[in-house]
């Protein structure tokens, strides 16, 4: 690890607000306890330590949530939407009626982060984030509980993401629009969730399923090579190259290296997506203090070379997880960008 730990800690303290520093440091501390050197994971302790949020039938900031069982995957996904009068009165949702017959209501499928290993849809920080997205984009958010590593490796997370997309597309009560009533889908994810969003979008494009946009928040990509940003920022802002390696080893098939196409999108084993006309436009957000940024920037470059529409939002002084708490400029900047990105198509 470059530099002494004291120096590293002082550096992160200088750019990160106190609350964020506490929150992310706490995650770092507990995650360190959960990853075992032999590649196994202490799932019991992880579940014990994880702070979860219940669904809210009584609206919080006008947003209600409920969990839905998806028979195809056997998983519970969480749906967030703006409370309507009908619901509060009877507490019943009519599963046949569309969201709106006069306007377009985007449906954002959200894949939470956690490096493929941690968290779930009901983790408090992600539950809060999804609540915010509903009001911000006047959207419905579906947060997917994909199966996690190391218990479930590649391609489980992608399969679950794809199943969730198909499920969402086939719900009559998620449709909207005046003339052409359909489900208006966006994919959004942070860290591993961003990685999943990319792969699901590729599969959607290959299968003729329309996705209107991808929002990737410091998506988790990597490769065998050690990039300059990894060397420079190793251990400085909560994340180490060593822990990134651990998560890839836990997710990728045993014996594989980080040039596997799941990880290194536009690397030597990457798939060509130039001919995918249905591939959505992308908003890629890169935190300037994230050690993985060179891989994320390479992804953006790769999209451009593949003639796919992409917008890069580079937040120089942001660290990972800057969007969990509304206490910094990057947060507000991001929210504005997401709002414009989702609304521009509608």
């Amino acid at each position: 690890m470059a530099g002494s730990n004291e120096v590293n800690v002082n550096e992160s303290k200088r750019v990160v607000p106190l609350h964020t520093w506490i929150l992310i440091s706490n995650f770092k501390l507990s995650y360190n306890m959960l990853r075992r050197p032999d590649g196994t994971f202490d799932r019991d302790l992880a579940e014990f330590l994880e702070r979860k949020a219940p669904t809210t039938s009584i609206p919080v900031d006008g947003v209600c949530s409920f969990d839905v069982f998806d028979r195809a995957t056997g998983l519970l996904n969480r749906v967030y939407w703006a409370a309507t009068e009908n619901e509060v009165q009877w507490g019943i949702v009519e599963p046949e009626k569309p969201l709106s017959t006069t306007e377009i209501v985007p449906v954002i499928i959200f894949f939470h982060g956690g490096s493929f290993t941690h968290s779930s849809a009901d983790t408090a920080i992600y539950d809060t984030f999804c609540h915010r997205l509903v009001n911000l984009c006047k959207a419905v958010v579906v947060s997917v509980n994909y199966r996690r590593s190391p218990e479930h490796r590649y391609p489980c997370a992608y399969d679950d993401g794809w199943a969730a997309l198909k499920w969402v597309q086939s719900r009559p009560w998620l449709k909207s629009g005046r003339k052409d009533s359909k489900v208006h889908v966006y994919l959004c994810g942070d860290s591993s969730g961003g990685n999943i969003a990319h792969h699901v979008a590729v599969r959607a494009a290959e299968s003729g399923v329309e996705v209107l946009g991808n929002i990737l928040l410091h998506p988790m990509f990597g490769g065998q090579l050690r990039t300059e940003s990894e060397k420079r920022l190793d251990g400085k802002y909560f994340v180490t190259v060593q822990d990134r390696d651990w998560y890839w080893r836990a997710y990728l098939p045993e014996g594989e290296d980080r040039d596997h196409p799941a990880c290194n999108i536009f690397g030597p084993r990457g798939k060509c997506i130039e001919r995918l006309e249905l591939f959505p436009k992308s908003l890629v957000v890169v935190a300037g203090l994230d050690l993985s940024q060179d891989w994320q920037l390479a992804y953006v470059e790769g999209l451009r070379k593949s003639k796919q529409e992409v917008k890069l939002l580079y937040l120089e002084q942001a660290t990972i997880g800057f969007y969990f708490l509304p206490n910094n400029d990057h947060f507000y900047c991001l929210m504005e960008e997401i709002k414009n990105f989702v609304n521009s198509s509608c």
Partner: protein, 523 residues
Amino acid sequence: MGTYDKSISSGSSSSSKPPDQIDSLLSGAGYKVRSSELRTVAQSLERLDNVLVNNYLEISHHLSNDAIHYNPSDLFSWVDSLLSEFNQPVPMPDQSTLSDPAYVNTLVVPTLDPTVNAGVWTEHHAAPQHGIQQQLTVVTAMEEDPGIQLVHVLMTCADTIQRGELSLAGTLIEKLQDLLTRVNTGFGMGKVAGYFIEALSRRLFSTLLYTNRSVYESEFLYHNFYEACPYLKFAHFTANQAILEAFDGHDCVHVIDFSFMQGLQWPALIQALALRSGGPPFLRLTGIGPPSSDGHDSLSEVGLRLAELARFMNVRFVFRGVVASRLDDIKPCELQVNPNEAVAINSIMQLHRLLNSNSTHNSSIDFVLAWIRNLNPIIMTVVEQEANHNQPEFFDRFTAALYYYSTLFDSLEACSAQPEKALAEMYIQRELCNVVCCEGSARVERHEPLATWRVRLSGAGFKPLQLGSNAFKQASMLLTLFSAEGYCVEENEGCLTLGWHNRPLIAASAWQAVAEPRPPLEH
């Protein structure tokens, strides 16, 4: 000490708010930290970070395998307890609460398969689910019209009953019975709706609302509920673990069980005490049970069997049965508590029976909590249904019960053992019926949620004892013994809950009397 970036901080840390406030930003992330303690927590995290960096492997191993974690929401205490593992002093001069995590013997369950790997948490892949998912919003996997209509009309009916429009309610019952013919009542929504329709009919039309059930029958159904699903096992397991830990170092112990019910909970504790390091204590067990109508003394019968087990395990043991219909009929002197013994009070789904409709004047519960407190128990284990079935308005109670019991029945679908499953359903149905049909003193199933119990017990002079990560691990291990996936154990600020598909259904907590001078016991 570096200074933190002065970006927009949360409103809660501005100087106008009192420093004792729980910080709102972190609270949204699930952590309860006082504004005044934020910097201390940050410094502690920093310290821990340095310690871990230097001794990563051995410490990580120790922290995850040997250390017991308590209440991770309380960041200040949690980080503090980790620091004290490594003899690192707390940074702030004015704070001195160094918690001391107890190292305990783990509870041995005799039937546990030794090859079960406790470290692996299986992902929840649920059996097909057809029932209602969550409070107030319904999206069923079936999406069948009659099913949705059933719920809709049930709620309408409850509403009309509340408003006193009984003839309209009667018409709705007929409509409900008609709808019922169009759904499959063998499982899922149809089955649950059937029970609720029956309960509502009884409420409207039946003059005999409260039938006297034989004790034998009640115990028989309870036993099947115990076998068919993990809720009671979880309750016993968790309570026993907490009691075992509390009894550490005590040679004379006395467990008072508020509802003996054939003593299902106690063989495991007797065994665990037999195997504890330092040898077993002298164990007294007092079991409270209702009077039997047929003269059959099941309390003593079971007591004898437990005594035999204890003798076999070389545990000095005495059992006493105390007969009482209600807990507030008991005079504490009947329990014959000795001053030199460590007392554990065990209440599995009993305290709610003492509540009434009046939230301000609850003399029965207050009376009982007061004498419990006077016994100065070193631990009181409380397990209650995690539901809000004692709300003042009938409609609210009905709605809460609809969602609670449909979730509960849903979880039972996963059980395949017959006749245990059918009998367990009967057990649940009786409980449900009491919530829906009965009023006044006949309505004993007055469940209240954990949050409400926390307030009530704290107000009665008890403080919470944390159920830690080892109890959580034990409970999780228990679940892996069941083939059904979909059950989940959750940690909730020092308490544990067991639920089905993210809906907690039963909550376990542990308490201790707050120390204060008390008047001598009256004998």
